[in-house]
Amino acid sequence: RCSYCNNKCSYCNFNKYIPRSDNQDVMLECLQRETETLLKLSQVSRITSVFFGGGTPSLARPSTIAAVLQTVTRHAGLSEEAEVTLEVNPTPVGSSKLEDFLHAGVNRFSIGVQVRLRVLGRDHNSQHALQTVAEARRLCPGRVSVDVMFGRPGQSVASWELELDELLSVCDDHVSLYQLTLERGTQLFRQVQKGQLSVPSDDITAVMYDSARRILQKRGYLQYEVSNFARNGAISQHNMSYWKASQYLGVGPGAHGRFVPRGEGDVCREARTQTLEPDVWLREVQQRSHGTRRRIPLTHLGLLEEVLVMGLRLIDGITHQHWQLFSPRADLYQILSSSSEVQDLQQTGLLILDDRGLRCSWQGLALLDSMLPTLLLLLEAYITQGLDNNSDSLQL
């Protein structure tokens, strides 16, 4: 994950880093170095997916992408069918470089398209966006994801439905559906605070989300996660690994990773964060080959909590087999089924616990965040009361 952006969007609170042409070489060298360090530390033998994201990495030189991928191949295996995604900002410059990125090894594009974005201060208009999508589809047919966003200031349910319909007619097989969230510290947040702009109410955005899910389904996009939809089985393997609580390395300023640093002899998975500020990160990588700022060992409970929280975002939820990988002794029935609250959730048809596993119903998925605190408390109670004593269990 790299942080590149040539503008600051009014809704974005990402790590902003506007690259200068003179430090691209240094950046490349550091990305390679950190990749190498972390690959060695994890002792991973095969990388199944790579995602260049965070900001707009399409502003990077294609040669940079190629060099990083080469580093991966040199120090760990990068399988033939590995998914290599690049996040693309739909600018005229971006679309012209897509072919070079393809040659550099990218085989999937994720495009942050948004039409009528003037109010949000983006520098591209819908024309560029559509051109970028078309070019990406030409290069990687069936492997292009398009981000769509609802809940923008001034948007109504009807205008959203119309807009989504138009967008879907140019989309490829993957759609990510996001609600605009007001983040503190952004220009948009201030404008809404001051009453200069107003965003749709919670009731309205609930209807927007629901109608988007129906429209997408009608158009053949199956929802597989809270905000991700795929046609023809084009689900994102990389993102899937987050929701399945797999291990991943985070490289670059502000990147997050979760893996067992076996190179240090550890068996415990760590949540790692790389230094946020690009300049500081560069210096750190130059000095000690990595810019890891924070390492938090995940406890057995902490890991299970992540498995639960992330897994329930999937339409298929958490299967018993999957849960058992992390919790060989305490199964989902033992942990949850005796709780009256869980029984209530099951009775009201929001949550399903059956022989397949634990998952949300269609209706329940939209209310997941309200159910999670209850489930987390039950999990915590079960684990900390010593009902489960496999704390030295397998940690992947």
């Binding site: 809270v226 992540e306 605190p373």
Partner: protein, 718 residues
């Protein structure tokens, strides 16, 4: 200090007794506030022994501002015209024996009660003007207090007193005044003036012979003035009306004199116009006090008998009781008995208050001072109680009754982990205020706490404020309720309670209609004084509050005094604020206890999805049930966050629902994106929510955050 503690006056040998007064440092008193109300005064009386006489004023000081200027002025006068026999009282170092050796103490003393009235004490929003400044001025005039810029409010020690301009704890000061060759010892007792404390005031008054009725020249008679006037009038005291603040631009003393004539039937020429700030005519007041008050009848030859008019708790010395002697004398080492509890104590220390403690060997009839006698709790020295010698039983003062709580409220720590700290704070405060009743209580939503009983709303506010300011305690205070009574009809219940009439403090214990002959609610007689422009509006809110008009008179061309009989329940929460806001602050309000009256009161439950919420049960009048229920439902609707299912918020009487609001279910709350970089933040948020969930109160399946209860139960912010 050591030097200053010398004996500084003795009675002439002819008086037969020696009395000693040892002044302590009085220049240290700078930060007190003075607040005058009943002013006890040992009036001038030709001594039976032919010696010089001493006047002892017990001044009850109530309002923090006006006394100061008054006192300061008196001191200035003292210096310039040589009135004072005690030169330069400004500092204790100069407070020496030769200056006062000619003094003697009268054994027969009268007491003067100076009432502060008018603007100063109006319900629980107190606007003080006038009286404080006045008594401060008195003190300075006679030299008891150093005239520094620091003595802004001489007698009000507590932060809450200075802020609100009220007196919560009585303060006492003794001083001297020389008039026509006689020197008088003036004892000033500062007692609370608000109606909540009228019992204390009435106790003080019962020992007095006169009052100063101080009225603001700008504002005229206020509701409080009327209440205080009647307390004094019923006790048959001489009343000297004093019109203060005549220096103000809008002062209209003539109009105020006419109001006084009309309302109190006191001839206008008896009023004294003063400016405590400038000192105008202040001295005349003291002269009039000496001239007009009837002679006292106490004799030091009588058996010792003293009235307890206040008590304080000191961590090192135990209870310090302030007493006024009505007969005999009290010496160190004497054994005394308190009439109410019948307990006996040995006097360890006693002395005068100037206003600091000045230990002496004896206190004589007519004097006011303090006594420390090994009492462990203030409950042992209750206001209004009588003290007498173990050897010599006397008849106790009439009218003593233990404090009666009129307003109740739940009090809980903001966080349960603060429970023990809060308990100790409440204990410490009640050590100094025996009129607060404390009952342990617990609420499913708010945890362990107390149900506290107060004399009135001001008393409650003051208590809470002191808790927060002096003990740094953060508390949740529920909306105040009043004690109802029920006349039981069920023989079984009567037997159980051992009586037919029971008092209900907690709505949860409200007995069912079927076992009750009649419910009674507490009533108060309210006095409202307002410019006549607001009559219509005020009458309509009074009507809404089930009040019955008893009287209405014009006290001048455009001011009206109205009397209404109110159910106490209708005024405990927001009546005064409403009255003030609708009259642009001009109307004043005061009330007094008017007993109980039969009322059709009912118990109202609040239901969440059909499940009753115990802590929200309230007792309401039948006619007010609908509006009260609706208001409660609306507040809950705002306070309870939306949940995954619809919530019906209902108010019900028995099984009948009288009001309903609906909290709609939300349909979506999932954060729409969560990838590798979002996990840490997301987990943190969810864990916090899970922790918060542990603190939720569940009513059925409905989660109610503690905040919601606080918002609904606590008093609305003013």
């Amino acid at each position: 200090m050591g030097e200053a503690r010398t004996q500084f006056f003795t009675t002439p040998a002819t008086a037969g007794n020696s009395s000693s007064l040892s002044p302590g440092s009085i220049s240290e008193t700078a930060d007190y506030g003075l607040y005058l109300a009943p002013f006890f005064l040992n009036t001038h009386l030709p001594s039976a022994h032919g010696s010089s006489s001493c006047l002892s004023i017990i001044m009850s000081i109530r309002s923090p501002h006006s006394c100061r200027a008054f006192i300061r002025h008196i001191v200035c006068r003292t210096r310039t015209n040589g009135l004072s026999p005690i030169p330069n009282f400004g500092s204790i170092a100069q407070f020496t024996i030769p200056a006062i050796s000619g003094l003697s103490i009268l054994t027969k003393c009268g007491l003067l009660c100076i009432f502060v009235s008018g603007s100063m004490l109006v319900h629980y929003h107190i606007h003080t003007h006038g009286s404080h400044k006045y008594s401060s001025h008195c003190l300075v005039f006679t030299g008891a207090i150093a005239t520094t810029d620091k003595n802004k409010q001489v007698l009000d020690k507590l932060q809450v007193e200075r802020e609100r301009g009220i007196t919560v704890k009585a303060q006492t000061a003794s001083l001297f005044y020389k008039y026509q060759g006689q020197t008088y010892l003036l004892n000033l007792i500062d007692t609370p003036g608000h109606v909540d404390f009228s019992y204390e005031v009435s106790r003080s008054i019962s020992a007095c012979q006169g009052v100063l009725l101080i009225v603001d020249a700008n504002q005229g008679i206020q509701a409080q003035t009327v209440a205080n006037f009647y307390l004094a009038f019923e006790a048959q005291l001489t009343i000297i009306p004093v019109i203060n603040k005549i220096d103000l631009k809008n002062a209209d003393p003539e109009r105020v004199e006419k109001q006084i004539e009309k309302v109190f039937d006191i001839p206008t020429e008896e009023c004294i116009r003063i400016s405590a700030k400038l000192g105008t005519n202040v001295e005349q007041v003291l002269q009039e006090v000496v001239k007009r008050l009837p002679p006292p009848t106490f004799k030091k030859e009588d058996p010792f008998k003293a009235l307890v008019f206040d008590s304080n708790f000191d961590h090192y010395r135990g209870v310090v009781a302030n007493i006024a002697l009505f007969g005999g004398y009290l010496s160190k080492g004497d054994r005394i008995i308190s009439a109410y509890l019948g307990k006996s104590y040995e006097v360890n220390e006693l002395g005068l208050l100037r206003p600091d403690e000045h230990p002496t060997d004896r206190l004589y009839a007519g004097q006011v001072g303090y006594v420390i006698a090994g009492m462990k709790e203030v409950k042992e020295a209750q206001i209004g109680d009588t003290l007498y010698h173990q050897k010599h039983l006397v008849e106790a003062f009439p009218g003593f009754k233990p404090a009666k709580a009129m307003v109740f409220a739940g009090m809980y720590p903001m966080d349960q982990s603060d429970y023990s700290a809060l308990r100790s704070a409440v204990e410490k405060l009640t050590l100094n205020d025996s009129s607060v009743t404390v009952q342990r209580d617990s609420s499913l939503a708010l945890g362990a706490g107390w149900r506290l009983g107060f004399l009135g709303l001001l008393h409650m506010e003051v208590f809470n404020q002191r808790l927060e300011q002096e003990y740094n305690a953060s508390v949740i205070v529920t909306a105040p309720t009043v004690p109802y009574k029920a006349i039981l009809s069920s023989a079984k219940l009567i037997k159980e309670h051992g009586k037919e009439e029971i008092t209900i403090v907690n709505p949860a214990q409200f007995p069912d209609r079927s076992v009750v002959k009649e419910y009674l609610e507490p009533m108060v007689m309210g006095t409202i004084i307002t410019p006549d422009d607001y009559i219509g509006k005020i009458m309509s809110i009074c009507l809404n509050r089930r009040a019955v008009q008893k009287n209405m008179v014009y006290i001048d061309d455009h001011r009206v005094m109205m009397k209404y009989l109110f159910p106490l329940n209708e005024i405990v929460v927001d009546f005064y604020d409403l009255l003030k806001s609708m009259s642009s602050g001009y109307a004043s309000f005061d009330y007094e206890d008017a007993g109980y009256q039969a009322a059709h009161v009912i118990k109202m439950d609040i239901l969440l999805n059909g499940k009753p919420v115990e802590e929200l049960t309230t007792i309401v009048h039948k006619d007010r049930a609908y509006s009260a229920g609706k208001a409660m439902c609306e507040r809950l609707q705002d306070a309870i966050p939306r949940q995954m299912f619809e919530i019906a918020v209902q108010a019900a009487i028995g099984s009948k629902v009288i009001a309903r609001e609906t909290i709609k279910a939300y349909k979506k709350n999932v954060l729409a994106k969560c990838y590798g970089g979002d996990i840490t933040r997301k987990m943190k948020l969810l864990k916090k929510q899970a922790e918060g969930k542990k603190k939720m109160r569940y009513v059925g399946t409905v989660q109610v955050p503690k905040d919601a209860f606080i918002n609904v139960l606590k008093r609305k912010d003013k």
